[in-house]
């Protein structure tokens, strides 16, 4: 369903992505791990063109973009890509001037032009799904971090994305608030949602992911089924990384 070939991205003199290939089937959950600065977040942000890759191609369902071509500069193509992907940010990025409900309704009403009543029904359904129906009228500033991230998930789901890109969704949260977000993601995964997840929560990755991709220096160093990668790491860099995270293979 998603296919990346030879993706490259440089920031000035620094090569962040050095030819990354990745394929992922519908309903598959993939965890992206690696030391900080390895290009995980950049890879994710290239997938919905928040960063413009320098080279490589990207196919998501029926949308295909080849970096560096004139079509890649087309705003509509970019927007099609974004409507097929949802993104969860480390810092939530809820719209602070709108209530939880309005945050979720924003895109259905103004992008999909859904009638207000339908959009409200959709949004209330999603807020219930993340367990926040009773917080619909709250402003983001009146919600805890975990609640904000759950609203952000509902907001992303409102556009019915084919894949949900999660950029360290729990890193900004206190440990006791992480559970509620992880539970929601777990539920989504069990319902067959396609997830690409940048995370440091290796235990969670083992619970939820079908596959793990280890990225370092802008390259995929090792990838494979979750247990194989996490429990029998072959590459010394991955072994070192797992050791640093005091991750005990089972």
């Amino acid at each position: 369903m998603i296919e990346i070939v030879g993706l490259r991205k440089r920031f000035g003199a620094v090569t962040v992505l050095d030819g990354v290939d990745h394929q992922q089937a519908a309903g598959e959950v993939v965890a992206l791990i690696g030391p900080s600065g390895c290009g995980k977040s950049t890879l994710l942000r290239c997938l919905n063109w928040l960063e413009t890759p320098d080279a490589g191609s990207l196919r998501l369902g029926d949308v295909r973009i080849e970096a560096g071509t004139p079509e890649a500069a087309d705003r509509r193509l970019r927007q099609q890509l974004r409507r097929r992907t949802g993104m969860i940010f480390q810092q939530f990025h809820l719209f602070p001037h709108r209530t939880a409900l309005e945050n979720v309704m924003e895109a259905p009403v103004h992008v999909d032009r859904l009638p207000l009543s339908e959009a409200r029904e959709l949004a209330m359904g999603l807020l219930s799904k993340v367990g926040l129906a009773d917080r619909a009228q709250h402003l983001p500033s009146q919600l805890s971090g975990g609640q904000q991230q759950r609203v952000a998930i509902a907001r992303a789901l409102a556009m019915k994305p084919q894949i949900l890109l999660c950029d360290e969704p729990t890193s900004a949260l206190d440990p006791e608030l992480r559970g509620e977000v992880l539970t929601v993601l777990q539920t989504l995964a069990s319902e067959g949602m396609t997830l690409l997840l940048v995370t440091h929560e290796l235990a969670f990755a083992r619970d939820i992911a079908h596959r793990v991709v280890f990225l370092e220096g802008g390259r995929v160093v090792e990838s494979g089924p979750t247990r194989a990668v996490l429990d029998q790491p072959r590459h010394p860099r991955l072994q070192e990384f797992l050791g640093k995270h005091r991750f005990t293979p089972q």
């Binding site: 919905n48 928040l50 705003r75 927007q79 974004r82 409507r83 992907t85 949802g86 993104m87 940010f89 810092q91 990025h93 809820l94 719209f95 602070p96 001037h97 924003e106 895109a107 103004h110 992008v111 402003l139 500033s141 952000a152 907001r155 992303a156 556009m159």
Partner: protein, 499 residues
Amino acid sequence: MRRVPTLLLILLAWTAGLGSTAGTAPAPEPAIRQVLRWANDAEGGAPYIFHPPDNPDQLVGFEVELAQALCDRLGYTSQFVQYNWANLIPGLRQGGNYDIIIAALERTPENLAQVAMSRPYFTFGQQLVARTQDTNIQSLKDLAGRRIGVLASTLSHRLATQQGGVEVRVYDENVNYFRDLELGRIDAVLTDSPIATVQLKNRPNLRTAGPPFAHAHYAIAVPIGSPELLTRINEALGSLIQDGTLERIYRRYELWDPQQAALATWTAEAVPTTTSGAATAATKPAPVPMLRYFKILLEAAVTTLWVSLTSMALAMSWGLGLALARRHGPKPLRWMATLYIEVFRGTPLLLQLYFIYFGLAQQWGWKLSAGAAAVLTLGLNYAANEAENFRAGLEAIPRGQTEAALSLGLSPALTLRRILLPQALRISLPGITNDLIALFKDSSIVSVIGLVELTKEFLIRSLDAGDYIGLGILTAAIYLAMGHAASRAARALERRLRT
């Protein structure tokens, strides 16, 4: 005046002492002449006091020459003091800045109540001026429902106001109302006959409408309580008239006529002179009808309010355009927006107002009404500030907001409108409110193009009533009320914009 000789004596003694201690004192200088400081407003223009266009370093005019002749006769060194015309009398009463006023002050009971006045040095009439084609204007009566320009706080001002049914536009100086008359912004000018004589020379499309009327005198103003100085000035003036000096000066300016010749036989009996000042000063002034004045000031505040609010609306929309051009526009547009902001922030508002009101009309024939010019100038000027306010607001929004909106599929335009602008406005609002309150006060600048707003009304009325404290407090209260209402409205809007 009494202070000057004392000061001079001290100065003289000090320089003499300095000379002797230094031991280089030359032969005694010819006695240093005392200085007589006479005040006028060089904005008064020809033929009174003006800089000739071909020699702008020089100050000439019949009052300048009269002052010189008078000082010569009195044995003083003449020293000109520039002062705002409308404030000449309060300035003299306050003392310290100048000793006498020679500035076309009318010898009226109103003025005599505040200062002592000499025998007249000039007889003038009220001259109505209209456009040449506008043949049906012959007197004040023909001006019902039309606009007339007058100089603030003059006999012309009073006569035009008394006429009723005429829209009176008040000016601060003597030239611009002729310009506005030519441009059709006003329909007539009522002014002192010498001004009309000079100005009509170079304005073929204007004409005198009817003969001069309501003749009156200009006289020299002296502080109340200086009878000795007043007597000496009267004697000197008398001798200038007798020996033909005055006639020679006036002939140079083509002002000599039988009425000026009659000044020689003028007697003080008609209006009391030397004692008048002291006498009227002793009587208590009538109490100022505050409620009447409050209503008058409120009416002027309406002008302040609509000028400020319309200007602010213009400034905010134009400023937003500039901020967006500067942030998101292509390079040439960005560069132009930056240049615009620098130019409008970096040059005086008054200069911009004159450029837009007079300059555009002169150069390209764009005859803006005073109201339109005021709103346009203030709007264009404040747009530079608002652009910076908006820019600060936009820059304060975390980049993540844009990314979150884009990742949901919102277009850049929609992101700006739905997500960024409401948040930017919320951040910029305190600065914008500040500017609006500043604008309430800055809008007083439009009085220079004849709009009477709150501050101008206060200036006019406080001169009339001779009350700066009472009317000042009333005026301040109205400004405060407007500013308070603005900040209340801003806070309500902030709550609506939330976060």
